[in-house]
């Protein structure tokens, strides 16, 4: 029952068309331990406390240090990591986790149920994803040192996916670290992962080193789960905000991996003798978030005008350059997730109908008040998408006040509904729709129509895959009819990897265990 129920409770995500590991023919040689892996990242992590941030860079760094109860296999199904097994009882309202024995924290202490309970509670209190998850949680308690019980108000269809989610994930810290920090950022970065935290020198690097006493799982590696091996001695995450420099560093061999390379540099990466491009497909979709709480965009007709005016092809072409890196598609889920993907509401996507937009604006009595639009150049595609969209919208009669700020400022301002009408962002690939920021009511934009909320709740509770899909389709229909947000299109990310790096799978999450250097 335990293992089977994972399959039952979790919706099977069909095989994603992810590119295989970046290994070349003849690379079947045995993995080798040793070396320092140098990864050029997009910038400085704002914090290393994963409970408190959704920043991708923080997840990419810290999930080598911290682990959760569950993780994803290669098909993005939830599989146990720190958990050994679980049982579901009380009509799906009680879930009992059995923890693995002998899992050591980096401080030498064994992980027990006390740590799990303290960490899950903190995650439920502080994390964006945790708060959402804990809405339906009545309590969590330690039964014995290796058993934890989770009591739910309603049965959940997305429980294990929620616990497996890496971003802003439900990772386990030692209880004393949690107690010392409370709601403040944790001071000691101690986890159970294959790498331990060594040091963080802002603007220089975050250094991780192999954890010698790591308790690996026995199963063979599968996706992010199974046996994790720390082959390289150390990993350095080096903030290199300038993409030209990240790329140059790959050329010279200074960095082994360079993240977030602009897509129109694809040909250049291919031309580098010592490196190969890695395509992360799908990476996410690019979007303009509309403010439903305050200002112009609370008027549905103005939102509809916004939607009608846009022509996605030039917007996406400007943002991503190479055609191999973008795709026009109305789905909130990706075609790579056939069990979720739908074209519902698609007739309202990519209308490029300025005449209709003008008519709607006139109906709404729009008098040329500037639309305050926050965007950033730190993510070039966001700025370029916005720039082209601005041109199209102005042709349809909008007046756009584009405010280009740094990403940190954008994130800060988007929490204040009175200072913006639109902001640029990307929705990263998420295997479980119930947790998608694209439809989250509490997220900036505050898109909360009642019908959508009901269908979304239903998706979260239901466990029958067919029914869940139909419900999710309803949500997508409302997304277009009510103009929840503006989806421009899907995009894929490019990373550059030196040829001496073996076993690296290009994914958003970026796991560097099981990766070795020749």
């Amino acid at each position: 029952m335990p293992r089977a129920s994972v399959r039952l409770a979790v919706v099977a995500v069909a095989a994603l068309l992810l590119a295989g590991p970046l290994s070349r023919p003849g690379a079947e040689e045995a993995p080798k331990a040793g070396g320092v892996l140098r990864v050029a990242t997009i910038g400085e992590p704002p914090t290393l406390d994963l409970h408190t941030t959704t920043a991708v860079i923080v997840q990419q760094i810290t999930w080598h240090v911290f682990e959760g109860l569950y993780t994803y296999d290669h098909n993005y199904n939830a599989i146990p990591l720190l958990a050994e097994s679980h049982t579901v009882s009380d009509k799906g309202r009680t879930v009992t986790f059995r923890l693995r024995h002998g899992v050591k924290f980096h401080n030498g202490k064994e992980m027990t149920s006390a740590d799990v309970v303290a960490s899950l509670k903190r995650w439920g209190r502080l994390a964006t994803s945790g708060k959402q998850f804990f809405k339906d949680v009545e309590g969590v308690e330690a039964k014995d040192p290796y058993t934890v019980a989770l009591y739910l108000k309603e049965p959940s269809g997305a429980l294990f996916m929620g616990l497996a989610r890496p971003n802003n994930g439900a990772v386990i810290y030692p209880k004393e670290v949690v107690d010392a920090a409370g709601d403040n950022p944790v001071k000691d970065y101690i986890g159970t992962g294959p790498y331990r935290f060594v040091e963080h020198q802002p603007d220089r690097h975050v250094k991780l080193a192999r954890f010698k006493d790591y308790a690996a799982r026995a199963e063979p590696a599968d996706g992010f789960g199974g046996k994790r091996t720390a082959w390289v001695d150390e990993i350095l995450f080096i903030p290199v905000p300038d993409v030209a420099v990240r790329l140059a560093g790959i050329e010279t061999g200074e960095y082994h991996v360079a993240l977030v390379i602009q897509q129109d540099q694809y040909d250049r990466v291919k031309a580098i003798a010592g490196a190969v491009p890695g395509i992360i497909k799908p990476a996410g979709w690019s979007t303009a978030v509309l403010n439903h709480k305050h200002g112009l965009m609370t008027d549905k007709r103005i939102r509809q005008a916004f939607q009608a005016a846009l022509d996605m092809e030039p917007i996406m072409a400007a943002g991503f350059g190479n055609k191999a890196f973008y795709r026009l598609d109305p789905g909130l889920s990706f075609p790579e997730q056939p069990q979720w993907h739908s074209k519902a509401g698609g007739e309202l996507y990519n209308q490029h109908n300025p005449a209709k937009a003008k008519r709607l604006l006139a109906e709404a009595g729009y008098a040329g008040a500037p639309v305050r639009w926050l965007t950033t150049k730190e993510y070039q595609y966001m700025y370029k998408n916005a720039l082209v969209a601005k041109q199209q919208l102005e042709a349809a009669g909008f007046k756009i006040d584009l405010q280009v700020v740094d990403w940190a400022t954008l994130v800060q301002r988007r929490n204040k509904p009175e200072v913006w009408d639109v902001f640029s962002t990307g929705i990263t690939f998420n295997p479980e729709p119930a947790y998608s920021t694209a439809t989250n009511c509490n997220w900036p934009g505050w898109w909360c129509p009642e019908a959508k909320e009901q269908w979304l709740d239903a998706v979260a509770r239901e466990s029958d895959p067919k029914k869940r899909r139909a419900m999710w389709e309803k949500v997508q229909q409302i997304f277009y009819e009510d103009v929840g947000r503006i989806k421009y299109g899907d995009f894929f990310d490019l990373i550059a990897v030196r040829k001496e790096v073996h076993g690296l799978r290009p994914t958003n999450e970026l796991n560097l265990w099981n990766v070795w250097l020749r």
């Binding site: 602009q262 040909d267 400007a318 370029k384 720039l387 280009v404």
Partner: protein, 292 residues
């Protein structure tokens, strides 16, 4: 304290006025400078005629090489580089002129006050020294950090940075002029301070100031480009040579024209201003005429 000043502008008692046009054209280099600046002026005045909308994006034609449709090529979102460079000239000249006006307003007032009213001298010049103790670009960056990015703020920042430099030159001239016999004579005749300043002092310190103007203009164009290049100048959608360079940097391999043409525009403008400044100095400052 000594701070660099490109021009060694010495005060002039009574400027001679030989056929200045002849002098201006006597040295071919000055003429080249004047012609370059005239060309830039024409470009920026006629920008709407000569070029299209610098913000218009033809995304399908992004990063196309210089050719018939876009004769300086297009940038990474398909904007016409020629149009952007031409409108960039407009912005540069606007910033240059506004900075000259602002820094001269600051400089002439402070310089006159310090040079003419000796009691104010110490205070005013200490403040000016303090401002000049900051390297120009560093002070400008800090001011932009405080003011926020916009065209007006760029002008204010660069104007504040250059004001003290003008003040120093004006003060120097005033100090000499106020000791000359005709000013003393006028004072003996009971002329008021205001009259003295307007009628005698100001006109006589004009020539070093005019020489200084061309160098302040050049400094303003350079500083604006540098600030915008660094991302702390004008907002990124304003066509500025510095912005085009910063955006073109990433495409320096695929699209070198994104760096080469705005770069050439900056070079020619500064070169023209420097030639003109050198020529003006020779023309207006007889002491060093023929030396350089």
């Amino acid at each position: 304290m000594s701070v660099i000043a490109l021009p060694r502008a010495e005060p002039v008692a009574a400027p001679s006025r030989p056929g200045w046009l002849a002098l201006l054209t006597r040295r071919k280099t000055t003429l080249v400078g004047a012609l370059l600046m005239l060309a830039m002026l024409l470009l920026s005045v006629l920008a709407p005629v000569l070029a299209g909308d610098p913000g218009h994006m033809d995304v399908a034609a992004r990063l196309s090489a210089p050719g018939r449709a876009h004769w300086l090529g297009t940038d990474d979102v398909g904007r016409d580089v020629w149009s952007r460079v031409v409108y960039g000239a407009r912005l540069s000249l606007l910033v240059g002129a506004a900075v000259v006006a602002l820094s001269f307003a600051i400089g002439v007032v402070c310089g006159l006050a310090a040079g003419y009213y000796r009691r104010l001298d110490n205070l005013v010049m200490r403040v000016m020294d303090g401002l000049m103790a900051f390297p120009a670009i560093v002070l400008a960056i800090a001011l932009m950090a405080a003011l926020g990015s916009s065209v007006v703020n760029v002008i204010v920042a660069i104007g504040v940075v250059n004001g003290p430099r003008v003040a120093r030159v004006v003060r120097g001239s005033v100090l000499v002029i106020r000791e000359t016999s005709y000013v003393e004579a006028a004072r003996a005749l009971g002329a008021s301070d205001a009259l003295m300043i307007v009628r005698h002092v100001l006109p006589n310190c004009l020539s070093p100031v005019i020489v200084q103007a061309s160098f302040v203009f050049a400094a303003a164009v350079l500083t604006e480009a540098a600030l915008s290049f660094l991302g702390v100048g004008v907002p990124p959608y304003v066509p500025s040579w510095g912005v085009i360079l910063a955006e073109g940097r990433l495409y320096i391999q695929q699209a070198p024209w994104l760096v080469v043409y705005p770069g050439l525009a900056i070079m020619l403008t500064i070169f023209g201003l420097n030639l003109l400044g050198d020529g003006l100095r020779d023309l207006l400052d007889p002491k060093i005429r023929g030396l350089i």
